[in-house]
């Protein structure tokens, strides 16, 4: 076995399969649920590929990563999703900007299900007729998303922030891009972007790591035919404010701050998240003032997101006075910058973050889903736990000086 890591009283096994795939195994003997996921580092932001021998990059249809996710379960021998069901597993998949994830959870037949997972992700069977039929389902998914005010607010916010980077496009693409997707295009994209040597395999539960590693022999390395490229994103935002009428009784809004994209750094991400909690969390002076002024009924939800060529933080909430709330947020940022970070507040929120991380270890699916989010950082939950404990006020103070800028703030409001 490869590297054995420890954190929060748990053991984590890290290994590379023969094909180069990274494996991360969380043995949890006392739990009946077993979980496995294959993470493909190819998502909806990956829309432009520079071929090995071509001068001009090839553009993929928007939403193609999501379309592939829908159709990859369809195999030459039948539907892998139904087969998982027959083997007692509940399987599913999702796509986000940076990755596509196929996973299952079961109590029995773990190894059969794992072999099925590792097999079907390597054997696409895109048939024109199936792809055509799937278009109405994806169209229905897109329309369902359009009725979701929070999703619409998020998509508007990233569109306001970004001028070129594909993070501004919806994960599922548009009805138009879905219409233009073909089985042939999907196959080409799959060939270029589904490289098993870049996959991650994540397993958690009462599982046998030796058997798992044996099963990974099923995974075959593939030659890369190109690399994903991103266009240069200007520093400035596209537009500051947009309001969309959705017939809501209570408007929802998202305040976003475009940040300088840098190298991926988990410690910095954790520091930023803690700083956002300190700035606008449920015990913050900002929330108290917003609550007392009747701007907010509940704390804003917070999100920090970074990836290839983009980084931003966002605050989501509901209320009639989105502009005033955003202004108050900025005022409190300035106050924080001026007055510095209160040591007690920092310690309390660090304690909270440690508690939250610890809690992740008591649910098999929480372990699996959190590990999926850690793959771009080449990290695991022991890193998360250790770095959270090691965070220092200075980490936050550094970010306080050079991250948030008023001219990089956007506001999307759904009414």
């Amino acid at each position: 076995m490869g590297l054995m890591r420890h954190g929060a009283g748990e053991t984590i096994l890290r290994e590379r399969a023969a094909a180069g795939m990274r494996c991360c195994i969380y043995p949890k003997k006392q739990f009946g649920e077993k979980f496995a996921a294959v993470v493909v580092p190819f998502g909806s932001n990956d829309v432009c590929c520079q071929g090995e021998n071509s001068e001009k990059p090839i553009r993929f249809p928007l939403g193609v990563a999501h379309f592939i996710e829908h159709k990859l379960f369809q195999q030459s021998w039948g539907d892998a999703l139904f087969q998982f069901g027959k083997q007692g597993a509940a399987a599913n998949a999702f796509t986000d900007g940076e990755k596509t994830v196929y996973y299952f959870s079961c109590r029995e037949n773990f190894m059969e299900n794992l072999r099925l997972l590792l097999d079907f992700v390597q054997h696409p069977c895109f048939q024109e007729e199936d792809v055509e039929k799937e278009k109405s389902i994806i169209r229905s998914e897109i329309r369902m998303g359009k009725d979701d005010a929070n999703r619409a607010a998020y998509e508007t916010m990233v569109d306001l922030m970004y001028q070129k980077h594909p993070v501004r496009f919806p994960v599922a693409g548009t009805e138009e891009s879905v219409k233009n997707t073909t089985a042939e295009k999907m196959q080409k994209v799959y060939d270029a972007c589904y490289l098993p040597q870049k996959f991650w395999l994540i397993c958690a539960g009462d599982v046998d790591d030796h058997q798992i590693m044996e099963a990974t022999a099923l995974v075959q390395e593939k030659e890369s035919t190109g690399k994903i490229v991103y266009c240069k994103e200007p520093d400035t935002i596209q537009e500051r404010y947009r309001e969309i009428a959705m017939g809501l009784r209570r408007p929802v809004f998202q305040v976003g701050f475009k940040l300088e994209p840098g190298e991926r750094n988990l410690r910095e991400k954790l520091a930023m998240e803690l700083l956002m909690d300190l700035w606008a969390g449920e015990s913050s002076p900002f929330f108290l003032e917003a609550y007392e002024k009747d701007l907010l009924d509940a704390p804003l939800e917070r999100m920090y997101s970074c990836g290839n060529g983009f980084a931003f933080c966002a605050f989501m909430g509901s209320g009639e006075q989105a502009e005033e709330t955003a202004e108050l947020l900025l005022t409190h940022w300035k106050r924080l910058k001026q007055n510095g970070i209160d040591e007690n507040h920092f310690r309390r929120l660090q304690k909270k973050a440690v508690g939250q991380t610890l809690r992740l270890f008591q649910s098999i699916s929480a372990i699996g889903l959190t590990q999926i989010e850690l793959t771009p950082f080449d990290a695991d939950l022991s890193d998360l736990f250790r770095l959270t404990k090691e965070l220092h006020k200075k980490d936050l103070e550094k970010l306080l000086q050079n991250t948030i800028a008023q001219d990089k703030m956007v506001l999307s409001v759904m009414r």
């Binding site: 007692g88 079961c106 039929k133 209570r250 015990s283 304690k351 610890l358 649910s363």
Partner: protein, 417 residues
């Protein structure tokens, strides 16, 4: 409280659940309240007020900071609707590093020592909470999927407790005062049966005893809970308008079963056969006909009602509804394949077994079993499931009667006729 019968019984009951394998202690305490139109809004408002400050933690941020000190304990005061009753529930999930004293102190602040002046909640707090609740009720339809599901549920159980909206009613809200809510809180403390649960290490038993002792409940005439039988009714077709692109469709069926009936397990299997992840509805309505992205069928463990939910284009809504009924009728007339039956049983088996891996699922399960009165542990539940046959499932399908067809739609011209 009016219209409730009183009886003499132990007001507070305690349940310990072994949670050694978890890293947190989970605590759940709830007051059982019969759900009536006249108390629903008071109850919703009370839950809101109780979160806003305590004697020791007088503001919303002070309460939040206290939970953060406990390694970011998760806590909630909320109304949980269970069939025709509502639970005023207090819950906390907290790292085992946190001392018993700190945990109980925090929970008791919320339950026993909310901020009050002369035994009444501060008027400004109540006013603010009325405003919060008003805005929430006004905005209910903004979340189309959950609103459609909730409306269909209420319509299908109209004239029963289960048909009462536990979030409250706008028209009842404005007339409520601090005195009403404070008095109602005293009523709850005095008359509601209380259930306390701890899922944690073995010292959780001690914690339970101390929790109960500190609550110091002096219940006199406890509220009683009676099951009402559902009246037969013709299917109602209802369409409500909202600003939306898709139409949310919810079909509510009465199974004629009670959660304590052995046959209830057949209904669960039927719902999985039809509306599980790989169910017949998914195969036919989504995969074959491409009418929707999501479709599911579930049964309510407290009422015996079953619901099919989906989102479709407005023009396809009536066709989809009739297809759902056709597929169901097909099961009633021609039965199901043994393979589909076995797959469904396996999926339910997995779901029942999964309960043991989550503290909240365990406590919710144990509490529901206690309230229903069946008191089956998961092993017994699995045995009952194993007794279900294909014929039982077909019988359950034959007994289903369509009670409500509900559409939430953006189509101006939409009509069921």
């Amino acid at each position: 409280m009016r219209n409730t019968t009183a009886k003499k019984a132990e007001q507070c009951r305690m349940f310990f659940v072994d949670g050694k394998k978890f890293k947190t202690n989970a605590l759940l305490g709830f007051f059982r309240v019969p759900l009536r139109r006249e108390n629903a809004t008071k109850l919703a408002l009370l839950a809101e007020v109780l979160q806003k400050g305590t004697e020791k933690y007088p503001s919303v941020t002070a309460v939040a900071a206290a939970a953060e000190e406990c390694y970011g304990a998760l806590w909630q005061v909320q109304i949980i609707k269970k069939g025709g009753e509502a639970w005023l529930s207090f819950s906390m999930e907290v790292s085992k590093h946190v001392s018993e004293k700190e945990v109980l102190d925090f929970l008791l602040q919320l339950m026993k020592h909310p901020k009050r002046i002369d035994n009444q909640f501060p008027a400004e707090t109540v006013e603010r909470c009325i405003a919060i609740l008003r805005r929430r009720l006004e905005a209910q339809a903004d979340d189309k999927i959950s609103f459609a599901a909730k409306r269909a549920r209420e319509l299908a159980a109209e004239d029963e407790g289960a048909g009462i909206c536990a979030d409250g009613y706008l028209e009842d809200l404005e007339k409520l005062t601090s005195a009403d809510i404070s008095g109602f809180y005293e009523d709850v403390l005095a008359h509601a049966p209380v259930y306390l649960y701890v899922c944690g290490d073995s010292d959780g038993r001690q914690m339970l005893k101390k929790w109960k002792g500190a609550l110091d409940l002096q219940g006199k005439e406890l509220w009683e809970f009676q099951q009402t039988s559902r009246k037969q009714a013709l299917c109602r077709k209802i369409a409500e308008k909202a600003n939306m692109g898709q139409t949310r469709l919810v079909l509510a069926f009465d199974s004629g079963l009670h959660p304590w009936d052995r046959a209830f397990h057949s209904l669960r299997v039927l719902c999985e056969v039809l509306g599980g992840g790989n169910g017949l509805l998914f195969q036919e309505i989504r995969e074959k006909q491409g009418l929707c992205y999501d479709i599911s069928m579930t049964c309510d463990t407290m009422t015996g009602l079953a619901f099919v939910q989906t989102g479709v284009a407005g023009k396809d809504a009536k066709h989809t509804a009739s297809e759902i009924c056709r597929i169901l009728q097909n099961v009633a007339d021609h039965g199901i394949k043994n393979d589909d039956f076995q797959d469904a049983v396996e999926q339910i088996r997995r779901k029942i077994s999964d309960i043991s891996d989550s503290q909240w699922k365990i406590m919710d399960y144990v509490a529901e079993q206690e309230i229903i009165g069946t008191n089956l542990d998961s092993e017994q539940m699995l045995r009952r499931l194993a007794d279900v046959t294909v014929e039982d499932v077909v019988k359950a399908a034959q007994k289903l009667s369509l009670r409500t067809m509900y559409a939430l739609t953006g189509e101006e011209e939409f009509s069921w006729d």
